[in-house]
């Protein structure tokens, strides 16, 4: 029985099934909390807890899926190319908004966590939460945090962006499509970009720009910002 529960094909079929079903349900109901990424994660964790299959065993199947993350990030180069002229024209607002977005992202997460009495190691591990996992983990590693905790927070931030992103932008009067795409990439990396891509290619292009620039700025600035705030 245990062997069946950890069978690669069964786990893959289950993952596809849950994701497909809840994406359809979200599409039909328009209910943002039915985010298929979030539900699939929750249900799979429940499945592993109930069946007693270890995460290591699951990862043998899971790695077949997350293997495609890197090629998918490379593929973001296509919308980036398609919007190249628009990006060139807007380089100043893009760079300035990314710089400010990066600063706000790091400073706010650190200060709010401190306000709620988080331990220093958790605070350091959360500082780079808005950017893509490999960069975020690298930053945390260099600062002496827990990289795997960073990876968890990065995924949570991404799903949050997917769930709250466009609602927040509409409520906050961010109306320009370019600004919206950028913000989605800046705040919630590739998950935000994939949500943006669902609306249009143009949104997606600016979101991938947001991932890139915020990633670079965060890698460069996080150590200095944390030092200035007195955490390291």
């Amino acid at each position: 029985m245990q062997q069946l529960f950890s069978n690669q094909y069964i786990i893959l079929a289950l993952t596809f099934a849950v994701f497909y079903y809840f994406r359809r349900l979200q599409y039909r109901t328009g209910w943002i909390l039915l985010n298929p990424i979030l539900i699939a994660i929750v249900l799979l964790i429940a499945y592993l807890k109930i069946t007693g299959v270890s995460f290591e065993k699951f990862e043998e199947s899971g790695s077949l899926i997350d293997f495609w993350l890197k090629p998918a990030v490379v593929a973001l180069g296509v919308p980036l190319y398609l919007q190249f002229e628009a990006i060139k024209k807007l380089w100043l607002p893009i760079v300035l908004s990314q710089l400010v977005g990066c600063l706000v992202g790091i400073v706010s997460v650190v200060l709010i966590a401190k306000l709620f009495n988080a331990s220093d190691v958790v605070i350091i591990s959360m500082a780079s939460k808005s950017v893509t996992t490999p960069i975020a983990m690298e930053v945390t590693q260099a600062l002496g945090g827990i990289p795997s905790l960073t990876a968890a927070v990065v995924v949570i931030t991404g799903i949050l962006g997917a769930i709250l992103g466009f609602k927040t932008l509409a409520m906050g009067h961010v109306n320009s499509p370019i600004a919206r795409g950028l913000s989605m990439g800046t705040a919630s990396h590739a998950v935000g970009a994939s949500t943006a891509m669902g609306i249009s290619n143009k949104y997606g292009a600016f979101a991938s720009l947001g991932i890139t620039l915020n990633g670079i700025f965060t890698a460069l600035l996080t150590p200095t910002i944390l030092r200035l705030l007195g955490f390291i």
Binding site: F19, P36, I37, I45, K49, F55, F58, E59, G62, S63, I65, D66, W68, K70, P71, A72, V73, V74, A75, G77, V78, P79, Y81, F84, L92, P93, L96, S97, Q98, V100, V104, G105, S108, V109, I112, M126, S130, T133, P134, I135, E138, S148, A151, V153, V155, L160, L164, T168, L169, G172, V174, S176, I178, L182, S183, T186, A187, S194, G215, I216
Partner: protein, 143 residues
């Protein structure tokens, strides 16, 4: 299809080589993405060579995040212990980043437009003035 995979994985592989050779602190996938943009822009790679695969990958980007998300179960105890600060900081900070980035972008675009319009007006005025001078000179000659 082999060509499509070759281009995407080729960019990724080049990214890996660049990271290894330079020790640059960026993921190979981001470098691969910038390389792909560069190759498309310089026409070394044609759009139709990557169009299908990239569409497929981008449409399913969210799905690829499911297994890394399941890894959260390994850190449930750490997260549970500091649940409130982690949740509050993540939610509030994400909302702040979304709104501030968007507004900053809109603000700078508007400011740029205003400055451009001002410069245009100045130029037009200068032109009008010089035209006026020309006219007055002509008048003087006539007199």
């Amino acid at each position: 299809m082999a060509k499509q995979f070759f281009v995407i994985f080729g960019c990724l592989a080049l990214g890996e080589v660049i990271v290894w050779a330079t020790g640059i602190k960026l993921p190979s996938s981001i470098i691969g993405m910038l390389l792909l943009t560069f190759f498309l822009k310089t026409k070394i790679v044609k759009l139709e060579w990557v169009e299908k695969l990239s569409q497929f990958l981008l449409a399913n980007l969210g799905f690829f995040f499911v297994p890394p998300g399941v890894a959260i179960m390994l850190y449930l105890d750490v997260i549970q212990k500091e649940l409130l600060p982690i949740v509050m900081a993540t939610v509030l900070s994400t909302i702040l980043v979304l709104v501030v980035t968007g507004h900053m972008h809109q603000f700078v675009v508007k400011a740029e437009r205003k400055i451009m319009a001002m410069n245009l007006r100045k130029k037009n005025k200068a032109k009008e003035n010089s035209n006026a001078e020309c006219v007055s000179e002509e008048n003087e000659i006539q007199v």
